[in-house]
């Protein structure tokens, strides 16, 4: 069965500190992995995606994520967090073709001065 686990419901970091958001997935075929960000009252914006190839992918706003097949993980990282990064972050998994995306429950990021 397909599923995504984001073990951290809420994370608080200081501005300028590094960030890592965890994501573990379960998928029966070759997974395509995504991170989306949702600001309050807004829809989901794609940060980055992994389909194949280099397991370290770069996204927008200085984010990156690393695919580790052996750990079924796709953790999101940023070396220095900005106050504008405060939002809800969702990890999602899908497969080849126009299949559904399965989302995790999200991690809410708070950034303190």
């Amino acid at each position: 069965a397909q599923s995504v686990t984001q073990p951290d419901i809420h994370i608080t970091v200081s501005e300028g500190a590094s960030l890592e958001l965890r994501c573990n997935y379960s998928y029966g075929a070759t997974p395509y992995l995504f991170w989306y960000v949702q600001s309050p009252g807004q829809g989901l914006q794609l940060l980055l995606k992994y389909f194949s190839g280099d397991t370290l992918v770069q996204g927008i706003k200085g984010f990156e994520a690393e695919f580790k097949r052996s750990q079924s993980s796709f953790n999101l990282r940023k070396p220095s967090v900005h106050w504008s990064d405060a939002a809800e972050y969702f990890c999602a998994v899908g497969g080849r073709g126009a299949n559904n995306l399965f989302f995790g429950t999200g991690t809410r990021l708070t950034v303190i001065p």
């Binding site: 989901l44 073709g97 559904n100 429950t105």
Partner: protein, 117 residues
């Protein structure tokens, strides 16, 4: 390019009333999705269209929810009668790909927030 348009952005109704949400996907996108996002949860698929045909509606509560995508462009999601547990954000997304093509990237609209009293 213009994004995915949704309306209304907010709607408050009483239980047992009906409501309809509209979505206009990105021009040329073959696949359209409706997701339900309950507060504190991730989005869950309600229905997926490819052009004007239904690909997956297994999670749609068909006794009260209906959706259509006439002419393979914009789509309407209807709830009748609404229940308290239908309070959620209804997200529309579109993708240029069809089932036979490659990796799929969804673009989401801003969502329609429904409150059922």
């Amino acid at each position: 390019e213009a994004g995915v348009a949704q309306s209304p952005r907010y709607k408050i109704i009483e239980k047992r009333q009906s409501v309809a949400f509209w979505c206009n996907p990105i021009s040329g996108h073959a696949t359209l999705y409706w997701y339900q996002q309950i507060l504190g949860q991730g989005p869950k698929l309600l229905i997926q269209f490819q052009n004007n045909g239904v690909v997956d509606d297994s999670q749609l509560p068909k006794d009260r929810f209906s959706a259509e995508r006439l002419k393979g462009v914009d789509s309407t999601l209807k709830i009748q009668p609404a229940k308290l547990e239908d309070s959620a954000v209804y997200l529309c997304a579109s993708s240029p790909f069809t089932t036979l093509s490659g990796a799929n990237v969804l673009t989401f609209g801003a969502g329609s927030r429904l409150t059922v009293l």
